[in-house]
């Protein structure tokens, strides 16, 4: 189905059953073994079990990653899963199965999922990597399938490979760059200088405690609030307005400033040892369960979500 020597290959796999899932992915994995290409599968928990039992003995030769854990926040999949695996094998073509979108992704998560899928194309340009992204088209809504066509240059379906006619990743990123409104009951504080950061962390921690965020995650929240506000102070000419509130499932920390993020891969590049600065968003992506961004010439809003149910961490 694919030539092993091409540099970056990014197909969406449209499947309708577990059997179809395995019929496509087991040979993909076995071919990788045959060509000496390292293989990773970052897929939802149930799919991990499916692949493991189908592969039998061969399962121990591939890296299995639970995407509902490692990729719960789509913003950390590129640095924490995909690049992490590819960069571990710099001298050879690697194969990755990445399934970041499954039935049950929430309305809040979905826009970040699409942007993540679109950004894979920029993040791996000219890299020797194949990333195949399975989509359960029987259970996912039709607009999800249309978005997958926009974010993947190739589609694998029913044993055939086609060029995606709707491929337009930049348009997909822009389409899901949605305004973030509705913070009517949020407590907020303004960070104008570095001297305000300590009080801002204290504010965020106090609000989170009130909302019932697990103690162990309060320090995550303090880091998130501090890194977001520091970014505003470092990269924009104005202040940062920090707001904290709880919705049904999450503690939400929002940072608003008057800057615009012009680098779409900000916060998704793996760290370079010795680079002294500019990893704030990467940290936030690492710590949060979901990060949503809206950025425009008038300003940027970033929301970091932390699950209130500690069992889900």
């Amino acid at each position: 189905m694919m030539a092993a020597t091409e540099p970056f290959i990014h197909p969406a796999l449209f499947y309708r059953s577990d059997q179809e899932y395995l019929d496509n992915l087991v040979p993909f994995i076995r071919d990788g073994r045959r060509y000496g290409q390292p293989v990773a599968a970052a897929v939802p928990t149930k799919k991990l079990g499916l692949l493991e039992s189908a592969l039998g003995h061969d399962a121990k030769h591939i890296t299995l990653i639970d995407m509902t854990e490692a990729g719960r926040n789509p913003g950390r999949i590129i640095p924490g899963v995909l690049r992490a695996f590819a960069d571990d094998h710099p001298s050879t073509h690697v194969r990755i199965i990445g399934e970041p979108i499954w039935p049950g992704r929430s309305d809040e998560e979905y826009p970040a999922c699409v942007q993540h899928e679109a950004l894979i194309n920029a993040a791996f340009r000219d890299r020797r990597v194949t990333i195949v992204c399975p989509y359960d088209v029987r259970r996912l809504e039709s607009h999800v399938v249309a978005d997958a066509m926009a974010t993947h240059p190739l589609v694998w379906e029913a044993g055939h490979e086609q060029v995606s006619t709707g491929y337009a990743p930049d348009a997909a990123i822009a389409r899901y760059n949605l305004p973030l409104n509705g913070t009517r009951e949020a407590a907020s504080c303004t960070v104008r200088t570095a001297a305000d950061l300590s009080a801002a962390r204290h504010f965020a921690a106090t609000e989170a405690e009130r909302a019932g965020l697990d103690r162990r995650r309060i320090s995550d929240l303090e880091l998130i609030a501090s890194e977001l506000a520091t970014n505003s102070l470092q990269h924009t000419p104005g202040a940062c307005q920090l707001s904290v509130w709880a919705d049904a499932e999450h503690l939400v920390c929002e940072a608003r400033d008057i800057g615009q993020i012009t680098d779409p891969l900000a916060g998704r590049r793996p760290p370079v040892d010795g680079q002294p600065d500019g990893r704030g968003l990467l940290i936030v992506n690492h710590l949060a369960d979901l990060v949503r961004v809206h950025t425009a010439p008038g300003g940027t809003t970033i929301r970091a979500y932390l699950r209130l149910d500690a069992k889900l961490r």
């Binding site: 924490g80 570095a194 001297a195 950061l197 300590s198 962390r201 162990r216 320090s219 995550d220 303090e222 880091l223 501090s226 890194e227 520091t230 102070l233 470092q234 793996p270 760290p271 040892d273 010795g274 002294p276 600065d277 990893r279 704030g280 990467l282 940290i283 690492h286 710590l287």
Partner: protein, 283 residues
Amino acid sequence: MSRRAGVVRDLRDLGLHDHVCWAFDDADEFRARATRFLAKGLDLGEQIWYVGAGEVAALEDEMREFPGMDRALRRGAAKAASVEAAYPGKTVIDPTAQVRAYATATDQAVAAGFTGLRVAADASALVRTPEQLDAFARYEHLIDRYMLTAPFSALCAYQRSLLGEETIAALACMHPGASPNATPFWLHATADGGCAAAIGGELDLATRDLLEPALRRADLQPHNGELVLDATRLAFIDHRSLLQLAAHARNNGHGLVLRTAHPGPSHLTKALGLTNVRVETPT
């Protein structure tokens, strides 16, 4: 032996090894704080020195305004000294020689039957230029190491209106404890033999320009190729500050080890893929 660490609000109960920085606004405040700190020394049987700007006779008169000081002066338990006499030499002090001078004075106090030496000094005159500040901050760290084991305690007072907040912070952060709002963090000596120093407080964008000079001035010594910091009192560190610490260690050819139970540094180390940083949970 435990020493007062972090923000110090009350100078009454400081012990034989305490090392506290105090930022004061005017001469009256210095006198009041210093004598409160020194009075405790008399209770503990220490010899006490009151070091300030001006003539010794005038400084003695200032002391006498406080209860018990007149008698202490007459029996030799209390002494006033001009800052020029207590910190002799040119305009820039020699940090090592200065530690030796206080070590000798401490030995003499002990030989004379005192439990130790306690000094309250207004050193504002000695930190007016960048070179002076560099040398004096270095001295503050060296004397802090000496104080860990020797019966020497000190209140290092600096006049805020004369020096400005930045200079105050650069000096205050070299003490285990300091007056409120003087510094957001503290880098100081620790009795834990495996650690080069202890670091406490909060490290973020507000400390960016303070941290590197403090580390340089402390000139911390590695242990088996690793710079080990006791960070049990570090309440917060952001990723930029962790990178600063890691870069300082690496530039000196060492790995960095942070001893802390806080999850933040571990998360940062993992997210940043820092290969020369380890986080240890203190036992």
